[in-house]
Amino acid sequence: MTPLLSVRGLAKHYQTRSTTLKILEDISFDVFRGKVVGLVGESGSGKTTIGRSVLRLIEPTAGEVRFDGTDITKLSSAEMRRRRPRMQYIFQDPYASLSPRMTIGEILTEGLKIQGIGSRAERLERAKTALEQVELPADAIHRYAHEFSGGQRQRIGIARALTLAPEFIVADEPVSALDVSIQAQVINLLRDLQQRLGLTMLFISHDLAVVEYICDRVIVLYLGRIMEIAASEDLYARPEHPYTRALMSAIPSPDPEAKRGREILKGDIPSPANPPSGCVFRTRCPSALDACATAAPQLREVRPGHFKACIRDDL
């Protein structure tokens, strides 16, 4: 089976007056049809840059992004626009991502209109269907974003991505701005929709616990590099990379009994303007050796389907 999305050697650099910021380096992964792949990492890990690059909302500096067999980085903007209905984006902030001056109906039909799909009445029908899919009443089309709560707005953002009947969705921190009781509602909704519609998704989040609920495979990023890739069940049961372990250990557990010996990473995430030599995580890694400073570790398979970029096998 060929993957729906196949990313190879993706890089994104920004040139400032004095330096080159290497935001992404050598990112390669596949997303198979009907599967959800999670991108997790902290600020500056490059997860949003990957999400935007694979939809060409920003232009990558190097690498290939094959969508259904075609390298979309080589497409003209007209060819790209023809493919856009097949790939959609859900944004993090349900307040900033919906225009306050458009009705929900206008927001939901805008993409269809730009793509020249259907008559006005047909477009409104599709908008209503999408609202139904996200469990909002159809009369929402006459109202404005400010009339809805944060959770409802995020449902509208999801509905907007669905109106074009995409195969592939990049969901960028879709529940991070929501309260925990509402977050659970939206996580359940996204999982339902993904399974019911057979969607393929790239799910971006800083929250490892949320990612686990949605994703089949998880990619752990640090400073623009992949640290670990594994099936989510395997990753959470047996994390292999010291960074993944530290990240899991840092999440405060709501079980007061579970106050395990927490491993606190020292220091800050380094600047992409001046990343450490060799392994970018070595400056904060509790298990770093001298050898970690010499060469960037390559991803290697430690078990079937489980990859890590770390030279140590004795941890």
Binding site: E42, A184, D207, A237, D268
Partner: protein
């Protein structure tokens, strides 16, 4: 742990005037913080947790928000107990940053971009203690060192934009502790930070509290953080405390359906694979928080509550004692169990 109360809030009610209408964001809460303990105020957006902390600091926007009823008895460094609700602005100014330290969510907005870190930390010493400029600056460097900022002397001369988010939050903590307060109010101090940095800051706050025996009022939406840092917890919903008690007791044995719902709706690390195999979903709380301008009759949680009965919609339930130091504002608390 000492037992003298540092802060005793009784019947606090804080109202906002919006388009001629009066809306109670905090509606009659009682809360005690003792020396040496951390009390977490937890709740979702609009629950009134931040308005409670702003009320204690008397930082409500003038002309919009006001304390309508209640007292907030505060024991200052000199041992005198005063009602913060009754103090004038001049007296409050002598207490804020001196007897009460404050740390907010967004270190970039609570620091002034045009003053150096050292200047900002030494300012409170100069203002409250009349310390001379160079002595205060030396103290600021020592404080920065204390909160774990490497190369403190150089950092003291830098400006907020030159520091990372975690470093900035350490600097605001240094600022809050400069005058050795008896009470620290920390309002979502780790919410804007990455999780590995959050772990560092929680660890720092715990260490400093143990060392200084301060009372800490910790406002957060994150139940994991509560379990990590607090001795006691008060769960707020729509302006009222719906459950309170020792953290281990409340989390193990929640007796209010909202607390139970919050705990059940939290994704837990390592739990999802088994749930997915079993075809289970997260237990979301249905519906949403009611608008403060349009509160349901009776218990504010009743419209979202699986336990709600007719009586719940009649009267606002009282905070009943369910165990030593553990209270629940639910008439069916005896039937609620994890």
């Amino acid at each position: 742990m000492r037992t003298e109360p540092i802060l005793e809030i009784k019947g606090l009610r804080t109202v906002f005037r919006v388009r001629g209408r009066e809306i109670a964001a905090v509606n009659g809460i009682d809360l005690v913080v003792h020396a040496g303990e951390t009390v977490a105020l937890v709740g979702e957006s609009g629950s009134g947790k931040s308005v409670t902390s702003l009320s204690v600091m008397r930082l409500l926007a003038r002309g919009i928000g006001a304390i309508d009823a209640g007292e907030m008895l505060f024991r200052g460094k000199d041992g005198t107990v005063r009602d913060l609700a009754a103090l004038g602005e001049e007296e409050m100014r002598r207490i804020r940053g001196n007897d009460i330290g404050m740390v907010f969510q967004e270190p970039m907005t609570s620091l002034n971009p045009v003053y150096s870190i050292g200047d900002q930390i030494s300012e409170s010493l100069r203002v409250h203690r009349g310390t001379g400029r160079s002595t205060a600056l030396e103290a600021a460097v020592a404080l920065l060192d204390k909160v774990g900022i490497p190369d403190a002397r150089r950092r003291a001369g830098q400006y907020p934009h030159e520091l990372s988010g975690g470093m900035r939050q350490r600097a605001t903590i240094a600022m809050a502790l400069a005058c050795d307060p008896t009470l620290l109010i920390a309002d979502e101090p780790t919410t804007a930070l990455d999780v590995t940095i959050q772990a560092q800051i929680l660890d720092l706050l715990q260490g400093l509290q143990r060392e200084r025996g301060m009372g800490v009022l910790f406002v957060t939406h994150n139940l994991g953080v509560v379990a990590e840092i607090a001795d006691r917890v008060a769960v707020m919903y729509a302006g009222r405390i719906v459950e309170c008690g020792p953290v281990a007791e409340v989390f193990r044995n929640p007796r209010h359906p909202y607390t139970l719902g919050l705990l059940n709706s939290m994704p837990r690390l390592g739990a999802a694979s088994a749930m997915k195999r079993a075809g289970e979903k997260l237990n979301a709380i249905p519906g949403m928080v009611p608008s403060l301008a349009d509160m349901p009759a009776g218990c504010a949680f009743a419209p979202r509550c699986g336990f709600a009965i007719e009586a719940c919609r009649q009267n606002i339930p009282a905070l009943e004692s369910v165990a030593a130091g553990h209270g629940s504002r639910c008439i069916r608390w005896q039937e609620i169990a994890r």
